[in-house]
């Protein structure tokens, strides 16, 4: 056990490393970095106990800019590194920053297996629907038909939805947030930290250079409130500039209704239950395109991977007759040569 060190007070500056940030001007990665540096002083963890792990890509430069422990690893492999760190020291607060290429493509396998095991890690998925650092090729989340350097006649590969994939892989916590919503982001970072288990936050992050405006129709200030439904546990699924629209379940589909039209009242709307174990409705919310669901869509507490590992070790320690390796080496069939 590590000695208990007194809880320190921090400001965002304490989490700012001395490295010059090298993202393109106007990149929403800056928003995420700043939201994180403001969120961490709120979570009540000493900074020596925080680790950022990343793979490769624009999002993966993130650890260099945080004055905590950090590993900038190889493409798609951050979940493996982070799992090794968490199993080795469950007291640490471990964060992964990744992108749609890193997590959905080259690291897809690690992504799904990490979610199913449920170690207490926080994964921030910077989804900009493009490969940025390699200068503009289509990614697994790029829209069909998107013209990029590697798809001059339009992308012919269907895109993957990170949320659907995650829920299919038994994700216990999934949230979504627009890259231009720093306040929501900060709140979600704190929630993700507090959640015991793997939490995944998909951030719709605009790449100003290679895929500029790809989320405009959802995130632009003028349409935001009509195109996004910000979900909160226990609250009715209501949205719109005038707070006059909501979601109901009709048959096996979610439907948008206007309050006051056709006799529809606020009480008729669905109430968001992020803690429901059955992921059916969460899947429907994840798939919904108009409005796009943001906020915490799913948050279901479960045993963590490291808890299970620790429990097995405890049981084995109790059961074992071996105090040290010498006991093991001399146990069983030995014989003397004189």
């Amino acid at each position: 056990m590590k000695p208990i060190t007194p809880q320190k007070k921090y400001t965002n500056k304490d989490f700012t490393s001395n490295q010059e940030v090298r993202w393109c001007p106007g990149c929403e990665d800056y928003v995420i970095l700043s939201a994180m540096q403001k969120a961490l002083p709120e979570i009540g963890v000493n900074k020596e106990d925080i680790v950022f792990v990343s793979g490769i890509g624009c999002s993966s430069r993130f650890p260099y800019y945080m004055d905590t422990y950090g590993v900038h690893s190889i493409h798609g492999r951050a979940p493996g590194i982070a799992t090794g760190i968490k199993l080795s020291n469950p007291d640490l607060s471990v964060w992964i920053t990744t992108g749609d290429g890193d997590a959905m493509s080259i690291g897809g396998n690690h992504f799904i297996h990490t979610l199913r095991r449920n170690p207490d890690l926080n994964i921030l998925l910077f989804n900009n629907e493009i490969y940025g650092l390699t200068k503009g090729q289509f990614s697994p989340t790029s829209k069909l038909g998107l013209k990029t350097k590697s798809s001059p006649f339009g992308n012919i590969q269907d895109s993957l939805s990170p949320g659907e994939l995650a829920l299919g892989a038994q994700a216990r916590f999934f949230a979504r947030v627009a890259g231009n919503s720093p306040k929501e982001m900060m709140r979600l970072f704190i929630e993700a930290h507090q959640f015991k288990g793997t939490s995944l936050i998909e951030i719709l992050q605009n790449c100003v250079i290679f895929n500029d405006g790809c989320f405009d129709h959802i995130t632009n200030r003028s349409v935001k409130q009509d195109r996004q439904i910000y979900l909160e546990h226990g609250k009715p699924m209501i949205f719109g500039k005038e707070r006059d629209k909501g979601l109901i379940l009709k048959g096996l589909k979610l439907e948008v209704v206007e309050i006051g039209e056709n006799g529809c009242k606020e009480e008729d709307l669905l109430v968001h239950d992020a803690k429901e174990k059955d992921p059916t409705l969460h899947q429907m919310l994840v798939r919904l395109q108009n409005p796009l669901a943001t906020g915490i869509i799913r948050s279901v507490e479960d045993e963590t991977f490291e808890d299970r590992v620790t429990e097995i070790s405890r049981q084995q320690r109790e059961r074992s007759k071996f105090k040290n390796t010498s006991d093991l080496f001399y146990a069983g069939e030995t014989y003397e040569v004189s």
Binding site: Y64, G70, H72, S73, I81, G84, S313, Q316, N324, V337
Partner: protein, 620 residues
């Protein structure tokens, strides 16, 4: 049989080689390992060689489904599992067909005649029954209706189905062989009692058949001679039989205890390395965390994460898995973390020969990464010294803060030999570079002057927050650097760190002669047979101009390597590949002319082929 009337003559032998063969479901591995364990308890020196197909239950009776276990026991030093057989036990025609070549003419062959049915003979591609056509006249054939005798003996035990009855016949064979070589059934009975604790009828059946086989041999007139092999002269001490992969796992446990660091294993199942994982998952009580990952890449990256967090981290695999780990290994190298990677080599390339042995991943270990990324490479050379080299791999990685590749192979990993038990008190100290407090100019790439190891600051330590990563780092601050001079400096520095290891590894020692006409050179798992071949050259053939040297430390090479080579007129490098070590040696010592002897059949060297080659060279 001329000697049929002389019953129960007891002959003393110095050594004997026995092979048990049958279907992959016949229990030949268990039979062979029981025979070797019992012999170990008597004090014989032993080497074993299991040889089994890649299929778990290959079609019954097929030639490719034959599973075999060879054991070599002696009252003299036994360094390898032997070559020509003194006794072959064949449970079916396919086993006979694929193994008869190895049996010495005039020697004993035990067969289960019940298995020589028309169907099985066809499956083994025999046109005529070899038991009847005179083709075995050169051998002493001991025909036993083993299946029916087993069935008959078990008819009174209730609750046994036909399958369980058939499965007992390996105990019949084992019982017979115990009698022939004057061993008791005691050890195996104890083993069965513990294995079938909860299955009383299976236990009763197995013990009954073991004893039936033993008594059958005792009264059978077809076995005129039984043999005795006296205990071998070994260093005094407490011994146990140990399989190579278990020895490797135990070496890691010992290193963990000695260093005081928890062991972390990241692994993905692969033949023939999985037994290391199977062993380590049992030992959480020693602070081991074992993690079976989704793939080879996740297994090594998890180990790297554990190393970053302050664990003694290892990952285990075989050749194809090594290829998948290569990128991550480059990362571990550039971020300078301690990590041991075990490659239990098998026949390659690609899937190759998963259950067969080869030494063909040496150059992969040396160079199989992007960029310039030298690592420490060491190789175990016997089942039992796998313990020591696993331990040393941990010591070197912790003391030099750079990954170590430990090479083993299918042959020593699955082979067993007596191991003189060591405890952590008998093993060298292990230092590490953990740092608890910040000094004024501290940065993560600050180095120990002697070893050039960087400091190891782990998460949870206040004030030492830092970032490592695959991008090149500035030598003076540890921050990302694209400076050309710095990159060249760091590249050379990482190479120099490996060179410094030369100062702590032992000098190479020659066996038999320190100078002469021919130096035999080997590395890794071929030690036993090479040593035996040179010994035969010296002691049987009378050649006193032959020496032998074997490498366990390959990168860097021991400091006196060239000096040793220079003392011989000719140097021959013997490897189970087409010449990988010889390439390394040639590139290091271009003044020396190297001969080479290679075999790439998925099989170990045979002593006879080596002796023949050495004679040929010396006669030239």
């Amino acid at each position: 049989m001329k000697n049929q009337n002389i019953k129960n003559e007891l002959k003393e032998l110095e050594e004997v080689v026995i092979r048990f063969v049958g279907d992959s479901g016949d229990g030949m591995q268990l039979t062979g390992s029981q025979f070797s364990d019992t012999s170990a308890m008597i004090g014989n020196d032993i080497a074993t060689f299991p040889n089994y197909p890649a299929e778990i239950r290959a079609p019954q009776g097929s030639l490719y489904g034959v599973s075999g276990f060879q054991v070599h026991i002696g009252s003299i030093e036994v360094s390898n599992p032997g070559e020509r057989l003194d006794l072959l036990v064949a449970m079916n025609p396919a086993g006979l067909k694929t193994n008869l070549d190895a049996l010495k003419p005039g020697h004993a062959l035990i067969v289960d005649t019940d298995a020589f049915t028309k169907k099985n003979l066809e499956k083994a591609r025999y046109e005529k029954n070899p038991l009847e056509d005179g083709s075995l006249d050169n051998y002493r054939v001991i025909k036993v209706t083993m299946s029916s005798l087993t069935k008959e003996a078990l008819k009174e035990i209730k609750g046994l189905d036909n399958k369980s009855i058939a499965r007992c016949k390996n105990m019949f064979a084992l019982g017979m062989v115990y009698w022939m070589y004057s061993r008791t059934t005691k050890h195996t009975i104890e083993f069965l009692e513990s294995k079938f604790k909860n299955k009383p009828e299976i236990l009763e059946a197995n013990i009954k058949i073991l004893k039936t086989g033993y008594n059958y041999a005792n009264t059978l007139e077809l076995i005129p001679t039984s043999y005795k092999i006296l205990p071998a002269k070994m260093k005094p001490g407490t011994y146990r039989m140990l399989m190579g992969n278990t020895a490797t796992a135990w070496g890691f446990l010992a290193a963990s205890e000695k260093s005081g660091l928890g062991l972390f294993l990241g692994s993905y199942p692969i033949t023939p390395a999985s037994d290391i994982l199977h062993e380590l998952v049992k030992h959480d009580q020693f602070g081991v965390t074992s993690f079976q990952a989704e793939d080879e890449i996740a297994s090594i990256t998890a180990a790297i994460g554990a190393a970053f967090a302050g664990k003694l981290a290892i990952t285990t695999t075989s050749g194809p898995g090594m290829a998948l780990k290569a990128e991550a290994l480059g990362l571990a190298m550039i971020i300078e973390l301690p990590l041991v990677v075990v490659n239990v080599q098998r026949g390659g390339p690609s899937t190759g020969l998963p259950t067969k042995t080869e030494q063909s991943d040496l150059l992969q270990a040396m160079y199989g990464r992007s960029g310039e990324s030298p690592l420490i490479v060491i190789a175990a050379s016997t089942p039992s010294n796998s313990f020591y080299y696993a331990y040393m791999a941990c010591k070197l990685t912790l003391e030099f803060m750079t990954p170590v590749i430990l090479l083993s192979d299918g042959y020593i990993a699955n082979g067993s030999a007596p191991w003189k038990i060591k405890t952590v008190d008998d093993l060298p100290e292990i230092k590490n570079h953990l740092i608890k407090e910040k000094n004024d100019q501290w940065h993560a790439y600050q180095r120990d002057e002697q070893t050039l190891a960087r400091t190891w600051a782990i998460p949870g330590t206040p004030g030492l927050e830092h970032r490592v990563g695959g991008l090149e780092k500035d030598s003076k601050s540890g921050n990302v650097s694209y400076n050309p001079q710095n990159h060249e400096f760091m590249t050379k520095l990482r190479a120099e760190k490996i060179n410094r290891v030369q100062q702590v590894i032992p000098k190479l020692e020659t066996e038999f002669s320190e100078s002469g006409d021919l130096l035999v050179v080997g590395w890794g798992g071929t030690y036993g047979v090479l040593q035996a071949a040179v010994k035969e050259m010296k002691e049987v053939i009378g050649c006193d101009q032959i020496g032998f040297v074997h490498f366990n430390y390959i990168n860097p090479l021991p400091i006196n390597t060239e000096e040793i080579f220079k003392n011989f007129k000719k140097v021959i490098v013997c490897e189970l590949n087409s010449g990988q070590m010889v390439k390394i040696l040639k590139s290091n010592f271009n003044q020396i002319e190297f001969l080479q002897y290679n075999k790439i059949q998925g099989l170990p060297f045979a002593k006879s082929e080596l002796v023949q080659e050495f004679k040929r060279i010396l006669e030239k």
